[in-house]
Amino acid sequence: MAEWNAYYQNEDEYVDRDEFEVDYKCAGRDSLVFLVDASKEMFIRGEDGEPSPFDMTMQCVHSVYTSKIISSDKDLVALVFYGTEQSKNPRNTFEHVYVYHDLDSPGARRVKDVDGLRGENGAQVADETMGSGKTNLVEALWCCSNLYSDVKLRLSYKRLMIFTCRDTPHRGDCERDRQARTKAGDLKETVVPLWHLPGGFDVSLFFCDVVSPPEDESELGLQMEPCGKLEDLRKRVRAKEMKKRSMARLNLCLGEGMNVAVGVYITVRQTKKPNAVKLYRDNNEPVHTKTRLYHTQTGSLLLPSDTKRAQVYAGRQIVMEKDEVDVIKKFSDPGLELIGFKPMERLKLHHHLRSALFIYPEEETVTGSACVFTALLRRCSERNVFALCKYTQIRNSSPRFLALVPQREELDEGQAQIEAPGFHGIFLPYADDIRNLDAPQLPTASDAQVDKMKEIVHKLSFKYRSDAFENPVLQQHYRYLEALALDPMAPEHIEEHIEDHTVPKVKMIDQCLGSLAQEFKDLVFTLASGKLGKEQYTEEAGGAEKKPKVEMSEDELRARVQKGTLQFGVKVTGTKKRELIDTLKAQLAK
């Protein structure tokens, strides 16, 4: 796989490709089938007005649909109900199985469909379209496996998730149970984990045999606990729904002849608004572009070998072959090379360049890797050190240094993994990446001021969670698209739907602080001589654009101009800059 990537890296000679792109094209598509119990029990609401298991499941499915559209719109998703009264499946050979959506990439219509199954109304819609009837899990599983085989596309990763609240679906019908187990056994290659819903669910009664064995025996017991809360359910579905894909498989070289195989993963990465695609006006079908090079004078097509690369410095053009330009970038073969270890406190908080990587052993490539890796992980963690490594991602990429920070496995109360075991690879800056700043010399706060600020901090403290903030830009983009896809005469009041958590809740903050803000301001102003613009502290929030009031004698100004040490924040538009400079020069020349 690493080689594939390396090949594609060099394919496009004009554009620097994103180094972190995982090549999905050759990997095939992921698929996910939601198999949802639609029996009467699923529609019973919880005691404290909790939504019904069915409702919760639909919310989950909805969030997977929308997140798939944002993060991996090529993946295929299906929604199948079992225990229904009505039957609907490709050949209508299975009873009490209702294929609501067959395997396909989700689009606006499907998102809306699932939305329609949520809440009280949703329950009614479900009852009208499918109803609740007999349960035959054998048929349901069989139907799902047919869905997979009906797909013409190449599938790389298949998952089936079962949502139910009944631990004995066949009410003790041993024969059916046995058949279902067998069928699940047949599916084991593809059917993966299972999700079940609340209320004294006893896995051992039936489902433990249906669930495929986890990828690894050690996982046993991890996800077997039923989960009852929507948030937990959503989290688990999210964690399981995506295939872990390594962006590279490399050797971690501890020293000559000691190569540990590892996979490099991306666990966090900025999701950007996708680029627009070009469509042919007549049929709205996408078009692709081809780039060709022509000779300006002769008009003839040029081969790559007809061109060279050039840069101009100090008035001189320097020309190189394309190959030379590539070769210059080569330092060493792809891999991770251990340089040594350092105490954790040597890792500076502000040494951050890009999102971190995640490193996990590849036992399948080099046997024994997992054991060394585990030993290293454990001792690094216990001794509070990180490993410093030289990292070459692909052929012809120049090296970067990574701090490999040990991360031991962490589980929550429900035995679900919160932190996976492995090393986080933090990119370290080179000398060129660090800028020298002149820090201003300013007075520091007194204890009284600091204490007052502490009260403010206390009042406004909250428990941060990294998944708590949705990207409003993306959400708005997709909300619009969804609306437009369903109704080209776009509704115009879309914005109201979006709850933007990045905007501070000013009223709430003001209320929380009460008089504290004023008290802090008073402390700041009574202790310092308040000649300079007190008003800037009484400004309304968002006064950033207001101009500071600065007074200065011309002599002082002149001196500062000469030293080039003037710095004030005033907004200047780019086009005016030149004029300003000229004016300044003219003025000072007098």
Partner: protein, 734 residues
Amino acid sequence: MIDFPLCRRLGWHQCVATLMSKVEINMTALVLCLDVGFSMSNSATGQEPPFQQAKKVIQKFVQRQVFAENKDELGLVLFGSDNTKNNLAKDDQYQNISVHRHLMIPNFELLEEIQNDVQPGSQQADWLDALVVCMDLLQNETLGKKYERLNIVMLTDLNTPSSPDQLDIIIGNLKRAGITLQFFLPFPVDGGGSNPPHGGKALSREQQQGLEMTKKVMMSLDEEDGLEEVYTFSDAIEKLSVFKRVEKRPMAWPCTLTIGSSLSIKIVGYKAVCEERPRKSWSVVDAQTHQKDDIKRDVVYCLNDDEETEVQKDDTIQGYRYGSDIVPFSKVDQDQMKYKTDGKSFAVLGFTKQSMINRHQFVGTQVLKVFAPKDDEHAGVALSGLIRALDDLKMVAVVRYVYARNGNPQVGAAFPCIKEKYECLVYVQLPFMEDLRQYSFPSLENNKKYTPSEDQLSAVDSLIDSMMLVEEDGEKKDLFKVNHIPNPQYQRLFQCLHHRAVNPSVPLPPMDPWLTTALQRPLAVATRCQAPLETLKKKFPLKEVVKKKELKTSKELFGNSTEEPDAKKAKVDEEEDFNLADITEGSITQVGSVDPARDFRTLIRQKSLPFGEVCQQLTGRIEQLLGNKNMNYYIKCIPCIQTFREQSVQVGNADHYNSYIQSLKTSIPVRGLQEFWDMLVQDALTLINKDEVEGSTFSSHDAKQFLTAGEKKEEVVAAVVDDTGDVDDLLDMM
């Protein structure tokens, strides 16, 4: 005079102040003062003479200046030279000191001169005299211009007797003119004393005296840090960071930190850490003329049909994907749907424990340092209050950050940072929910198979011990500071650019040895860890798994049940294989563009179409591919031709293949497909001969000749015909 609106609104002073924060006036004038006297050529056996080392330092420095393309001016003064050329030379004063280059912006000519003309001399000159010549040069040539810094870089072995009587006057003059000094010596400034430095060679009396004087000069210029501006040659070669950094002045980002509506603090943010990209990129030029303008790039839009029908750009519109839907978009829609922000913002959403923020979840590509504006004491105190409160409580501010109006909002953490000399907030962007991939991985430590024994753990311990880069006791010296290494990519790039600029026709040089060394495990550590590594190897056997990759992937892909008998499975695999890329069609009815060779094979086997027709379909595809003139397309064509040949032999019909290959050959020069032809020759894809297929009219000798003979002829043809040719021509010929 000041008649534009902005200035009227702001007032003249502020206008100037604004300018000063924006305009970079940080020009430097610098004189390199190089000792070329004869003692510089002496060295202990096996060592590079100081002259060569010093020359390298200068080359690297000038190289860096040239590539930085700033307005800094540079002069070069040689002393100990055979000739004398300076303003002060009179009678026997200031002899053997030559101003090689006056103050000007450095360029490749200077680099060439240094490479070719700067050679060791046979004389000696007083380095103090040379210093005076440099000062004179700086003073005369900077008259009437504004410089932020005047600097003299002295490179010498201090091996000439100097008269210290003028020293105080010189120091006084340096101070008055605001000239700073840097010294580069073959030996460390503090390495003297009893143990002889510098390869066992003790310093001469002159050198000791010179060193004392150097110290005196440097200490009087800067009492505290003066000696830090004295370097050794080898330091300088390895760490360019010792040179005063040539860099962009950081851009200030003025904003207001807000907490609710009533508490606002003026702030200024600066990028503190950010991946420095090269300023220039490569442009594509014509290989012959080296002219950029001789090349035009043409982008065409094609439909996704097999013919790749070209459409006009005007006939295309924009759309976005929403899962399986593609939503066409007008400009109006686009503007309307864009998320709008009011303007820059640094608004506190709340505060949280530092431990809640995971370092490995930082996103974005930069780190900001946030200060209060200079001269704003109130903001300084207020911000200090916040920083100290956060620091005491081990908390951070979670803020909404918007760079400018309609910029995308970020959520980030502002960490308190308290240094000896300053306080600030350090801002890093945090992920949005959509940015997280919550993968779970199988447990390692709870897996018996992977649990290391005590023995193994202690082997790891000794490895860690032997490879600690920071010594635990004493000074805590760090042996490997990444943030002191210049980005090797640029070092190498500049080395090659420099080399090519000065020697255009010579192959690129190997990598500088210092650079290779700088990126490796420090020698001390490498030696120390040998034994522990050997133990580790013994304790942890590693074995590479040789596996049939294909088998694994097909299993992964198709998820075939292992219980199925092998024969059946094989059959399924085969079928699957044929269905794989068939995304659009259910079965193969014609030679498609995805995998023409495979389609061809299938069609031949199915016998549903006449052989000739299938051949024509295939050659049509080949021609289409060749029309792209791109190596990747050529690569795709080769298997087509291979299959074409193979199947023709199998079917026993060589006519179609032979006639196609012949017509292809004649069209090669016209269509500029030489590269592709070479590939055919390499793969020996020649005519089908009689021995292979009876009906063929060619002997095996003919067939062999066919490939080689062409090569000579083509050049002639190519010279005459200057036409791109057309696909249709060839097809007509067939």
